[in-house]
């Protein structure tokens, strides 16, 4: 922190969990900021770091986790002041590429499938110069190629940074209303390593706010992926896919733009998931201290009801400023729980009073899904289990990004927390192993229609040319008749990229469940029996 209350320094960073080297485990990318100098033309910093996961599975099944910093040899040279990261295989070569959002031009790194990356920002035409925070790879037009949505925040420059003050005249960070929001961008994948900015053509240019969180999912159940954008201090947008390359913002009518009260909140992190196991995607948005987080329950048709009060998620979060968050089944009981990473954006006076050098830090929150409660009109209730979450939940830090994934491949979801002005934390899940699970890698893609941007021999990933089918939905039919819906995604949370594999808790069920997949192109397939307590790759075209 500069002590000058530069706005950009409190917004990042994010983190990614993705398989950079196709060895079957999740590597880690940590976004970094640096220093902002009002005199310099661009911010300086050490740049983000890529860590290779050298996971060892011991003969007794225990795991030894070790990471090696491979940034230099990877060729990833990030510049600008890092904000966030998105991961997805944009060129269908079976290797996951990386998009870095910056305060400054963004960068796209193509994975060369040999442990190295090439900066293709300019040639791909995705080097958006705006201040971007969250981004998502999404195949919105069902052509089998991942397009890119980039959430842009505000127009702010260090050189023209304005001082902001609290009511007593003490200097503090400004509110987002001080600066102009910038339009987000939608880039269409041209299948040749380039993208076209289709923001205006897709109808997204006219309605925008200071975007911080992005989640893509089929919110209205029509089989086409929609885009949800959480804005800071302005109404959120729910861009419903019109199935013709355009979108329509139905945020207000859907009931997801504002709080139940009708106020725009400071939307930061966001995630979609079927928290009530009724087959549709519900939304969770983290907000500013005093506002409380929002839970939007989907009726199935893309109309939502805000149920943070009824669920217990709202009041419990009011004392915190939430950023990274996700739905994940922490205990593999078949219900999606939530972890929220917190950290203030304006000075917490109680910390300042005791001369805390970084008076923005807050604890994380952990909520367990209790399922429907008769006492709350059958609304899903959550229990605050932060106190039982372990020592790391007693740590108070300036949390921002959080990436969710099974980093030790033991069948439960771990969490990588990116802190502002502090060390990252890797939270290893110790409770998921108490129940059974299935792990699914949903693979597919054009495969043979490979793009070769240069003359070098094209390489393929571990799974050939198939890639993670982000946006694919999975129905898991348990032997007791219970049905769970999950989806493959790497977006959501805040400025971060998650494990694209689908991990489904089965509780005490030991029978191999039937699995039904709805692929992003709308086709469906079924696998009659998928082995439990292990990962299985389901490749499009190999089911029934």
């Amino acid at each position: 922190m500069s002590g000058k209350f530069y706005y950009a320094e409190i917004i990042g960073p994010g983190a990614a969990m993705f398989d950079a080297d196709n060895d079957g485990d999740l590597d880690v990318y940590l976004v970094q900021g640096g220093s902002i100098d009002s005199q310099a033309t661009s911010p300086a910093g050490p740049g983000g770091r890529l860590f290779r996961n050298d996971l060892v599975i011991n003969p007794d099944g225990t795991r030894t986790l070790r990471f090696t910093d491979v940034t230099e040899r990877s060729g990833i040279r990030s510049h600008g002041y890092g904000m966030g990261v998105a991961a997805g295989d944009f060129n269908n070569d079976g290797c996951v590429d990386l998009y870095l959002t910056n305060f400054g031009p963004n960068q796209l790194f193509r994975n060369n499938c040999d442990g190295t990356f090439t900066d293709v920002s300019r040639q791909s035409r995705t080097d958006d110069p705006s201040w971007s925070v969250s981004a998502a790879f999404v195949d919105y037009d069902r052509d089998g190629w991942l397009d890119l949505f980039v959430g842009n925040y505000l127009s702010w420059r260090a050189a023209s940074s304005m001082p902001c003050f609290g009511p007593s005249g003490r200097p503090d960070y400004c509110s987002p209303n001080t600066y102009q929001p910038q339009p987000s961008r939608l880039y269409h994948n041209n299948h040749d390593g380039t993208f076209t900015d289709v923001t205006a053509a897709a109808g997204l240019a006219g309605d925008f706010g200071p975007a911080l969180g992005v989640s893509t999912a089929d919110f209205n159940g029509d089989g086409w992926i929609d885009i949800y954008v959480a804005n800071d201090g302005q109404p959120n947008q729910l861009w419903i896919n019109q199935r013709n390359g355009t979108f329509r913002n139905l945020g207000l009518l859907s009931g997801t733009a504002l709080s139940a009260h009708g106020k725009a909140k400071a939307g930061m992190g966001v995630d979609a998931g079927d928290i009530d196991n009724d087959g549709d995607e519900d939304l969770f948005v983290t907000n500013l201290m005093g506002e409380g987080n929002d839970l939007y329950i989907n009726s199935g048709s893309g109309l939502f009801e805000e149920q943070s009060a009824r669920s217990g998620l709202g009041v419990a979060s009011r004392a915190y400023t939430g950023f990274g968050a996700a739905w994940f089944d922490i205990d593999n009981d078949g219900r999606l729980d939530s972890l929220i990473v917190n950290g203030a954006v304006q000075t917490i006076e109680a910390l300042r009073r005791v001369n805390d050098p970084l008076p923005l830090h807050q604890r994380k929150l952990l909520f367990r899904n209790l399922g429907p409660s008769a006492g709350s009109g059958q609304a899903t209730r959550f229990e605050d289990v932060t106190a039982r979450g372990g020592a790391v939940f007693q740590l108070s830090e300036v949390g921002r990004g959080a990436a969710f994934g099974d980093v030790d491949n033991d069948g439960d979801t771990d969490v990588l927390v990116a802190n502002n002005n502090g060390k990252p934390r890797l939270l290893i899940n110790n409770v998921g192993a108490r129940n059974h699970w299935i792990g699914l890698r949903l693979a597919g893609g054009p495969g043979s229609i490979r793009f070769q941007a240069d003359a070098r021999p094209a390489r393929a990933g571990r799974y050939g040319n198939s890639r993670d089918m982000l946006g694919a939905r999975v129905e898991i039919i348990l032997d007791n008749g219970m049905t769970l819906w999950r989806r493959a995604r790497s977006d959501g949370s805040y400025a971060s990229a998650n494990d694209p594999r689908v991990l489904v808790g089965l509780g005490q069920s030991t029978r191999a469940p039937r699995v039904h997949v709805v692929w992003p192109d709308g086709s469906t397939e079924e696998w009659s029996s998928v082995a439990i307590d292990r990962y299985t790759t389901l490749t499009q075209g190999s089911g029934k």
């Binding site: 304005m162 003490r170 009073r353």
Partner: protein, 395 residues
């Protein structure tokens, strides 16, 4: 941290009936770190704090310090002040009422609720306390507890928008859409300016399946809040003597169209914090709206002199200079605004127009074309570009 050398006060609980009496052992009154606050605020709070040494048993003195700290948003520090005031004057409803607000601001509903309940016990039927307490229950997912409080407020003050709004939201939370529509329509009838009501009303119509009416209300929705008439909280607005407080008062007057009052508040804010460009810029705006162009120009010029990186001030100055026919100077300031903030659409547009007024058409065209590409949602760039081309072809 400075501390008052008082021994902890141990007071007998003054109130034996429910709800809970104040704590017997009171926390120390301490001051927050005021080192980075304005000098006027330091002096004001410091003097109030010092007065406690001679008024150790004076509830008003504690309450006054609490008020200053609450107004300055030092919520943690305000709490013990009000606790002391409450202990010294247990029959005074102000102190639990303010405590309720302190706890609400600190997101502590478990403490805010008993505080407002205590205030209501001391002043039964107090409308603001009823509404705030209702809001707290509603936020906790307890519409059944909120409704009787709003009803009671409504019985004491028929047509009270805040109570009708609360009742509408409570009905919406219970999915009683018909009742929600009824109450929220009543709220809007009582105060059509309360634009925040349109949103829950739209959702209520949506619940009834009337999407057309829902969309109509969504188009009218705004951010004008609905709160109860609240003399105690309004009084807090005027206790703090700081630039930021004066600036806020100026903004309220400006938004209300009272430009002379706005000018007065902004001027005071500038006197208190001459290096803060924000109130000076707003003073220029208020002067301009009040018709004092010369005064406005002086303030904008002083703002950019003191804060040359303030793009908004360059823009305001540029616009005013252009309106005054001083095009060359206008162009300079508008171009500076664009250079400082390339994503400042209004400045880019204003710059292009000023260039066109100076007959520097090619440069204007370049700016408009860049603007149209950079801000595709803003039609004015493409429209002006078309007009410019049309003008050239006619020539």
């Amino acid at each position: 941290m400075r501390r008052i050398a008082f021994a902890l006060l141990v007071l007998a609980a003054a109130c034996t009936s429910e709800p809970k009496a104040p704590p017997a052992v009171l926390p120390e009154v301490t001051l927050p770190d005021l080192s980075r606050t304005e000098k006027s605020v330091q002096e004001q709070i410091g003097a109030s704090y010092q007065s406690l040494t001679s008024k150790a048993n004076d509830a008003e003195a504690y309450g006054a310090l609490g008020n200053l700290l609450l107004a300055a948003e030092y919520f943690d520090a305000a709490e013990p002040c009000y606790l002391h005031a409450q202990a010294l004057a247990p029959d005074d409803p102000r102190w639990p009422y303010y405590l309720g607000h302190v706890y609400m601001s600190r997101a502590m509903p478990d403490k805010a609720i008993p505080s407002f309940e205590r205030a209501l016990q001391l002043r039964p039927g107090d409308v603001p306390a009823l509404v705030w307490l209702g809001n707290l229950h509603l936020d906790q997912g307890q519409p059944d507890l909120a409704e009787p409080l709003y009803e009671q407020a409504l019985s004491r003050q028929p047509g009270l928008v805040a109570a009708l709004f609360g009742l509408g939201r409570a009905a919406l939370a219970k999915r009683d859409y018909t009742r929600a529509v009824d109450r929220l329509e009543q709220a809007l009838s009582a105060d059509p300016r309360a634009s925040i009501v349109h949103y829950p009303l739209a959702l209520a119509y949506r619940g009834l399946g009337d999407t057309a009416t829902a969309e109509s209300h969504l188009r009218q929705r705004g951010s004008v809040e609905v709160g109860p008439p609240d003399p105690l909280m309004v009084a807090l607005r005027d206790v703090l003597h700081s630039a930021a407080a004066e600036e806020e008062r100026g903004e309220r007057a400006l938004n209300g169209g009272d430009f002379p009052t706005a000018v007065s508040h902004f001027r005071t804010a500038v006197e208190l914090a001459p290096d803060n460009p924000s109130p000076r810029h707003k003073l220029g705006t208020a002067l301009s709206l009040a018709g004092d162009t010369r005064g406005a120009l002086e303030q904008f010029q002083e703002t950019v002199r003191r804060s040359p990186g303030f793009a908004q001030a360059h823009y305001s100055l540029g616009v005013l200079l252009a309106q005054s026919g001083r095009l060359q100077e206008a162009v300079e300031h508008l171009s500076t605004a664009v250079r400082l903030d390339p994503e400042f659409a209004q400045a880019k547009y204003g710059y292009a127009l000023a260039l066109a007024q100076m007959k520097r058409y090619e440069e204007a065209r370049t700016q408009l074309a860049e603007g149209a590409a950079l801000f595709p949602a803003r039609r004015e760039f493409a429209d002006a570009l078309a007009r410019l081309k049309e003008g050239r072809s006619q020539k």
